[in-house]
Symmetry: C2
Subunit: 156 residues, 2 copies
């Protein structure tokens, strides 16, 4: 009996053909590497992504950061608290809006971010080494295309 929708990769088991399963397993590889090499009681992946955004776009409000990262505002509070307690970032009043808090990185925040980013980039290069240059670009490009097709509503 003919398949109505032929699978993308014929030679694998059902679960190995699922996009979700492959994305999760691939992410776990990268995340474990991040934790082993970078996080040593420094910054969690989540806190690093928040600090990166603050460093790259100084002055964003908490809501803007949450939207951009696709996380809940409520989840951001503890992260900012932690970054602030460590002297890496600060909350600043927003002139026009007394509800909002603008986020800026401190000097120490910029420095730590630069350090960690360099290490993360080096480790991702190592992880991607089994793919040739063209494949690396393809993978990143396809992931970004997939994301932008589904994130229209939230992020920038």
């Amino acid at each position: 009996m003919a398949k109505a929708h032929p699978a993308l990769l014929e030679d694998e088991s059902d679960i190995e053909r699922l996009l979700g399963y492959n994305l999760k397993r691939a992410y776990m590889i990268v995340r474990d590497d991040f934790r082993n090499q970078v996080e040593q009681s420094v910054l969690s992946p989540r806190a690093f992504s928040v600090l990166t955004l603050i460093v790259e776009s100084s002055g964003m409000t908490q809501s803007e950061v949450a939207r951009q990262l696709g996380i809940e505002r409520s989840g951001l509070v503890a992260i900012i608290d932690d970054l602030e307690a460590r002297g890496l970032a600060e909350r600043r009043a927003v002139p026009g809006d007394r509800r909002a808090q603008a986020l800026i990185a401190t000097e120490a925040g910029y420095e730590l971010h630069a350090q960690i980013l360099a290490r993360v980039q080096a480790h991702e290069r190592a992880l991607l080494a089994p793919l040739d240059r063209a494949e690396q670009v393809q993978l990143l490009t396809l992931l970004r295309k997939f994301r932008s097709a589904h994130e229209k509503d939230e992020a920038s």
Copy 2:
């Protein structure tokens, strides 16, 4: 000053160029879709992956399933307990080894698995629709290549 290692995608911010960040965001899209459309108090992503493996390879021991899925044996216990309580799978004694438990799916387990798998595949097709056929195959292929380069030690 020239960059020692040119970035893969020149036109994006630092965080958007990171593999880990893109994998996580992409996975969250698929996972949220799974939860919205499939999980309705039926099976979590994790329980589904376990049931799928049991259905595809009947008789595996718990340790084998854990290794194959890249999760801890300890985490598997509750999932099997749940599948067993719902009459979807069973633990069976292994003839040669009195420590091990062989896992088999019940009739109900096979049926539910087939139902959910069909729904998951349909939803993944919809999610992948923004990519053309060649890109879909590329994405899956690259993810699997990336995984197999880093999972040598654990899974089959």
